[in-house]
C-alpha cells in the first residue's frame, strides 16, 4: 500500500512539486502500476542477475586527446542558460544559513 506520505516523500526526492489533488490521483495510478509490475517477484533472484543483456559490450575508454579550443561552444551553450552573468551560469546560493 502506498500512502499519501510515501507520495509526498517520493515527490520530494524527485524534486517535483505536487498539488494535493495530483498527489491523490498519482497515488491511485502508482498503486495499480506497482501491483502490475509486482509480478516480477516470481522471477527467481539471481537467476541470471549480473549477466549483462548484451554480449560483447565493454566499458570503452578513449584517449584524452584533441581538446576543443576554449570558447568554441561557450556562446552556443550559454544562450540556453536561463540566467547568466558574463560567461558564467548564474545559480542561486547552494548553502544557506538557517
Amino acid at each position: 500500500m502506498i500512502g499519501d506520505r510515501d507520495i509526498e516523500k517520493l515527490a520530494a526526492l524527485s524534486r517535483i512539486e505536487l498539488s494535493p489533488a495530483e498527489r491523490e490521483s498519482l497515488r491511485a495510478d502508482i498503486e495499480a502500476i506497482l501491483a502490475y509490475i509486482g509480478e516480477i517477484e516470481k522471477v527467481p533472484a539471481g537467476s541470471a542477475s549480473g549477466v549483462p543483456p548484451y554480449s560483447g559490450l565493454l566499458n570503452v575508454m578513449r584517449e584524452d586527446a584533441n581538446p576543443t579550443p576554449a570558447g568554441t561552444y561557450t556562446e552556443r551553450l550559454l544562450r540556453e542558460v536561463p540566467e547568466r552573468q558574463g560567461d558564467y551560469v548564474k545559480v542561486k546560493q547552494v548553502l544557506t544559513q538557517r
Binding site: 517535483i16 509490475i37 509480478e39 541470471a48 542477475s49 540556453e80 536561463p82 545559480v91 542561486k92
Partner: protein, 469 residues
C-alpha cells in the same frame, strides 16, 4: 504527382524530371494543408528550401546518391544544430540544439533535406503521442484515432505523404507501434547499430533511432545511411552480421493472448502468406521468460527515466521557474516543465531505485532481462526469425486509454526486442475495420543481433517488393 517512395523520388531526381526544391515545396504545402493531423511541431521551411537548393546544386555537379535531395521528417528528440528540439515537452519548448546528432550529420553528408520536427510523446514516454505537451497526432486513416507512439508524428507524416521518410526512436516499440497504426514500415535496429549521440535520452539501455518509410527498400536506405560505430556513443558498434540463410519463422506459443479477434485472423493470414513465399512456420517456440517482459521493461524504463531526466533542473538549459531558493527553483521548474506521465514515471523510478526496493524491483528486472536474452539466443539456434503481431489491436480512439496501465499493456509484443537488444521490423499486413473505417495492422519480425539485412529481406518477401540489392 508526388512520388510514393524515396526510391521513386530518387529516380526522378536523377532523370532530372523533378528537383529537390520542387519536392520540398510540394511536401511543405501538403504539410500545411494537413496541419490538422498535428504531425509536425514545426516546419523548417527556409532551411529546408536552402538544403534542397544545395542538393540540386550537388546533383548538377555530378553527385548522385539515394538520399540526395530527399525531404525527411525528424522526431523532436533528435538534435539538429540551430533548430529547436524539445522532445514535445514544455521543459524544452524554447531549447535550441547546440550540435547535430550523429544521425543528422550522416544524413547531411548524404544531402538529405530536413523539412520539420515531428510530434511525439513527451520525452518518448507513452505509446500514442497523447502525452505530447502540444496535443496528440491524429491518425491519417481515421482522425479520431491515435497515430500510435511515441514516434506518432513521424509515422503520420510518412503515411499522409507529408515526408518521403522519417526518423523516429524506439525505446519499447516507439517506431514499430506508430508504423503499425499508420500502415507504414518501421525498423528498430539492433542496440548499438545506430549512434545515440544527439538523441534526447529516455531509457539509455533501450533507446535506438530507427527509420520509418513507405517501403522496406526505403527503410533499408535510411538505415544504411545512419548506422555505424560512432566515437561519441560508446555503445555503438559495428557488430558481426550473423549468417542467416534460413527461412524458419518461429511464433511464440502464447502469442494469441489478448489479441483482438480480427487482428488474430490478420496475423494467421499473414503467416499463410509467408508459407506461400517459402517460409516455414513453427508455432511451438517456447519463450518461457516472455511472461515477465512487460514488468521487467517498465521497471527498467522508470528507473532510467528518473535518472536521465534528473538533468532538467532549470539551471543550465530548459524551462526555469523562479522559486524562493535553489531547491524551490528545482521543484517549480520540474513541476511546470514535465507533463503528468513524465512526472509519474520519474516518481515510480525513484521508488523502484530506492534502497529498500532496489533488489526487489530493479535487480529482478535485470535478471528477467538477462533470462529473456538467453532465451532469445537459444531460440535463434533453431529458428531464423520470430514473428508476432506488432500491436494487439488497431489504433484506438484518442482519449480511450485514459488509465496509464492499459496503455502499457499494449506494448506486450514490442518490448522484448528492446529488452534483448534485437532488431525488429514492423511491416503493414492489411486492414481491419472499426466503425466503418479501415485501420492498418502490422506484423513484426525479430532477428538475432545485427540481422537487419535478413529481417529486411523477410519484409520485402512479405510485401512483394522487388528483391533488395
Amino acid at each position: 504527382m508526388m512520388p510514393g517512395s524515396i526510391q521513386e523520388a530518387s529516380a526522378l531526381l536523377q532523370k532530372d524530371e523533378v528537383t529537390s526544391v520542387e519536392l520540398t515545396e510540394a511536401l511543405l504545402a501538403r504539410a500545411k494543408e494537413k496541419d490538422n493531423l498535428n504531425a509536425y511541431l514545426e516546419l523548417f521551411e527556409e532551411d529546408a528550401l536552402a538544403q534542397a537548393k544545395e542538393a540540386d546544386r550537388r546533383r548538377k555537379n555530378g553527385e548522385s546518391g539515394n538520399l540526395l535531395g530527399i525531404p525527411l521528417a525528424i522526431k523532436d528528440n533528435i538534435l539538429i544544430e540551430g533548430k529547436r528540439a524539445g522532445a514535445a515537452s514544455k521543459m524544452l519548448e524554447h531549447y535550441t540544439a547546440t550540435y547535430d546528432a550523429t544521425v543528422i550529420s550522416k544524413l547531411r553528408g548524404e544531402g538529405a533535406v530536413f523539412i520539420g520536427r515531428t510530434n511525439m510523446d513527451e520525452f518518448a514516454l507513452g505509446g500514442s503521442t497523447e502525452n505530447s505537451a502540444f496535443g496528440p497526432t491524429k491518425n491519417p486513416h481515421d482522425e479520431e484515432r491515435v497515430a500510435g507512439g511515441t514516434s506518432g508524428g513521424s509515422a503520420a507524416a510518412v503515411a499522409a505523404g507529408l515526408a518521403l521518410g522519417a526518423l523516429g526512436s524506439d525505446t519499447g516499440g516507439s517506431v514499430r507501434n506508430p508504423a503499425s497504426f499508420c500502415g507504414v514500415v518501421g525498423l528498430k535496429p539492433t542496440y548499438g547499430a545506430v549512434s545515440r549521440s544527439g538523441l534526447i535520452a529516455a531509457v539509455s539501455s533501450f533507446d535506438q533511432i530507427g527509420p520509418i518509410a513507405n517501403t522496406v527498400a526505403d527503410t533499408k536506405l535510411l538505415f544504411e545511411a545512419i548506422r555505424g560505430r560512432d566515437p561519441l556513443d560508446s555503445t555503438s558498434t559495428l557488430g558481426a552480421v550473423p549468417v542467416q540463410k534460413g527461412k524458419v519463422i518461429g511464433v511464440p506459443a502464447n502469442v494469441k493472448v489478448g489479441l483482438d479477434t480480427d487482428v488474430e485472423e490478420n496475423f494467421e493470414h499473414a503467416l499463410k502468406k509467408l508459407e506461400g513465399e517459402g517460409y516455414e512456420i513453427r508455432r511451438d517456440v517456447a519463450l518461457s521468460s516472455l511472461a515477465p517482459s512487460l514488468a521487467s521493461y517498465y521497471i527498467t524504463n522508470f528507473a532510467e527515466v528518473s535518472t536521465n531526466l534528473a538533468r532538467f533542473d532549470g539551471v543550465r538549459y530548459g524551462l526555469h521557474e523562479e522559486g524562493e531558493d535553489l531547491l524551490g527553483d528545482y521543484l517549480k521548474s520540474r513541476k511546470a516543465g514535465f507533463g503528468p506521465e513524465t512526472r509519474r514515471r520519474i516518481i515510480l523510478g525513484t521508488y523502484v531505485l530506492s534502497a529498500g526496493y532496489y533488489d526487489a524491483y530493479y535487480g529482478k528486472a535485470a535478471a528477467a532481462r538477462a533470462a529473456l536474452s538467453a532465451d532469445f539466443k537459444a531460440a535463434f539456434e533453431a529458428i531464423d526469425f520470430i514473428a508476432t503481431p506488432t500491436m494487439p489491436t488497431p489504433a484506438f480512439r484518442i482519449g480511450e486509454k485514459a488509465d496509464p496501465l492499459s496503455l502499457y499493456l499494449a506494448d506486450v509484443f514490442t518490448v522484448p526486442a528492446n529488452l534483448t537488444g534485437s532488431p525488429a521490423l514492423s511491416v503493414p499486413s492489411g486492414f481491419v475495420e472499426r466503425e466503418g473505417k479501415k485501420l492498418p495492422v502490422g506484423i513484426q519480425f525479430m532477428a538475432p543481433h545485427f540481422g537487419e539485412d535478413a529481417l529486411l529481406a523477410v519484409g520485402v518477401a512479405f510485401l512483394g517488393e522487388p528483391s533488395l540489392t
